[in-house]
Amino acid sequence: MELAYALAIGVLTGAGVWLLLRPRTFQVIMGLSMLSYAVNLFIFGMGRLRVDRPPIVPDIEGAGDPGMYADPLPQALVLTAIVIGFATTALFLVVLLAARGLTGTDHVDGREPNP
């Protein structure tokens, strides 16, 4: 599972970085989204990958062994990161549209390179 997980993060990051370096604003925003997926998975992975371990300790007798539960903190961090990443991506989308409207091109520099 670790290998598949790591490969998924690697592929997403690779695609994200490649798209981020492309000249069109749409490619840039797609790249940023890919990167944010990769980063969210990465944070999650840093809490160690374990199957069948809930992150919440129930309030019952015999729930004592902390080893039976996943670390909840990275999951909380991922939630925060998703919310913030989502909001900033939405904001970037607006700026991207404004730039398209004002400059008449979707090139990141606001003008087409000389042919």
Partner: protein, 541 residues
């Protein structure tokens, strides 16, 4: 409680949040009420920051810890105010008041939601300066960044949208590296509280230690983007040059957030007994700082637009500060902090002056400033034609602008008699002091050269644009509102006060620098509040 600041510690975060939210409820049409709330909030922030400055500056250097949720430190979020934080808070509040007053001239009407965004920006800045937790730092970074995106776009226009597009893309990518760094550190050490991290670092085994160092390096990358270190600073000159003047003035402190975060985190994590890699990566920081300052000085000479020149001077400041920190010499850090304060105030004032100078300048005048020299075109005035009158009538406004331009240029370039000179002089004299290692010796000499040469570059660049800007004949009489002149005067007077009162200020900042190299006090203060039923706001027990 020990007479500490108690609940006042949370005010710099809570007040702008409440003020900004109240403005949103009021709606865009109640402009006067919004401006009043904004200004009132900024002034109150200044008062609270001054109070925190005083209470952090006691003989022991009290560190006020505040627990917003009243959870004990390694688990809950903690805020900490020590001398350095208090200085940064005060600096933010000063720039905020000046920019807000300036914006009343006309800029707050140039687009929607200027005032609320400004308050949220202040909230993010203050939070970043006070937090003692890595993930909380990320959240405050995002708050200040999102507000800064809005402010950078304030006034709209093709130039601003284009510059902001780059700014936002770069900073979104930087936020992701921040998260990668934070999660690597969490994965290796299992905590994100700064003081708790410092306690756990010595106990890490080699394997985890490598992971931790990698996380710290990735984190540093983010801060270097914010601090506009070369080669991560190409977004800055254009953005700062096109931003609305009060926004650019407030942005003068934005690069300092990155520098502050580096100082704070490196001091607490790697400053004490931190095992095999004390002050991890500091040599890199020295090299990056020197490169940043050098290339900033080159940019200063090459730029043809006054706003860009000031933006490059901000980069030079960043580079100098990074290099000064990278030297790892305690004696240099105090003067470097003085330089930080002085140059931030000066850059803020300069951005305001640039706006006043530029707005009654004929189109393309600054393009010509260089082409004239390059192509030897000479003045557009015929040299053979005799002047029709002897002597020139100088209107008040022109004289004011000229004087403030010269003062700003002196401050930024570091010429006597103002605080810029004192800061650089103190830094140079500390650099010439005794050193231990060979790297530090070489680094000190290089930094010495860079400080002097970047000052020279500043003088040349500003003299050139000053001559073209003020002695050219193609300009009308500038118009000046009191609300726009007053903040410039106030900021420049503050720099004069900084020069006159250099003794006490320098002592305070020396103490702040000393605390950076003795993080044990910070760590102890945080560990001492680890009792759950203790009321929040207590300092040392």
């Amino acid at each position: 409680m020990n007479g500490g600041p108690g609940h006042w510690t949370i005010v710099p975060i809570a007040l702008p949040l409440v003020a900004g939210a109240a403005m949103l409820l009021l709606g865009e049409s109640r402009r006067r009420a919004r401006a009043a709330i904004g200004l009132g909030s900024a002034l109150a922030l200044l008062a609270v920051a001054a109070f925190l400055l005083r209470s952090a500056g006691g003989p022991e250097g009290e560190i006020a810890i505040y627990l917003p949720g009243n959870w004990p430190p390694p688990f809950g979020i903690a805020l900490a105010v020590d001398r350095l934080s208090a200085v940064m808070l005060t600096l933010t509040a000063l720039l905020a008041v000046a920019s807000l007053v300036f914006s009343l001239g006309r800029w707050d009407r140039a687009g929607v939601h200027f005032q609320p965004l400004f308050q949220f920006q202040l909230m993010g800045l203050n939070g970043a300066f006070m937090t003692a937790d890595l993930f909380n730092l990320f959240v405050f970074f995002e708050v200040l960044l999102v507000a800064s995106y809005g402010l950078a776009l304030h006034g709209s226009g093709t130039g601003r949208v284009r510059a902001s597009l780059h700014y936002i893309a770069v900073n979104l990518a930087a936020s992701f590296t921040f998260l990668i760094g934070v999660s690597l550190i969490y994965g290796a050490a299992g905590t994100l509280n700064l003081a708790d991290l410092a306690l756990r670092i010595p106990a890490l085994d080699d394997h985890r230690r490598t992971l931790f160092d990698a996380g710290a390096a990735v984190l540093a990358l983010t801060f270097l983007v914010k601090a506009a270190a070369w080669p991560l600073n190409f977004w800055l000159p254009r953005l700062y040059a096109v931003s609305a003047a009060p926004v650019a003035a407030l942005f003068a402190i934005m690069t300092k957030v990155g520098i502050y975060a580096l100082l704070r985190i490196w001091s607490v994590m790697f400053g004490g007994a931190s095992g095999p890699t004390p002050w991890f990566g500091l040599d890199w920081l020295l090299a990056i700082g020197l490169a940043t300052a050098t290339l900033g000085a080159m940019g200063l000479l090459a730029s043809q637009h006054l706003g860009r020149q000031v933006a490059y001077s901000v980069i030079v400041t960043s580079g100098t500060l990074l290099a000064a920190f990278g030297l790892g010499r305690e004696a240099v850090m105090g003067p470097a902090l003085f330089y930080l304060v002085s140059s931030t105030l000066a850059a803020g004032a300069f951005f305001l002056v640039v706006e006043l100078v530029e707005r009654n300048r004929s189109f393309g005048a600054d393009m010509l400033a260089i082409t004239f020299e390059a192509f030897e075109l000479g003045d557009e005035q015929d040299p053979d034609r005799p002047d029709e009158v002897v002597g020139v009538a100088i209107p008040m406004a022109t004289a004011f602008l000229g004087l403030s331009f010269v003062t700003c240029a002196l401050l930024v370039a570091g010429l006597p008699p103002l605080s810029g000179f004192l800061a650089k002089f103190a830094m140079l004299s500390a650099l010439l002091g005794p050193v231990q290692t060979a790297t530090a010796t070489t680094g000190s000499w290089l930094l010495l050269a860079v400080v002097i040469l970047s000052g020279l570059a500043g003088v040349v660049a500003f003299a050139r644009s000053g001559i073209r800007g003020f002695w050219a004949s193609d300009r009308g009489v500038p118009r000046l509102a009191l609300a726009e002149a007053a903040p410039v005067v106030a900021l420049l007077l503050l720099c004069a006060v900084l020069a006159v009162q250099a003794g006490p200020v320098m002592r305070y900042l020396d103490d702040a620098a000393r605390a950076l190299y003795r993080p044990q006090q910070y760590i102890d203060a945080m560990s001492a509040v680890a009792v759950p039923d203790r009321p929040p706001g207590g300092g040392t027990p």
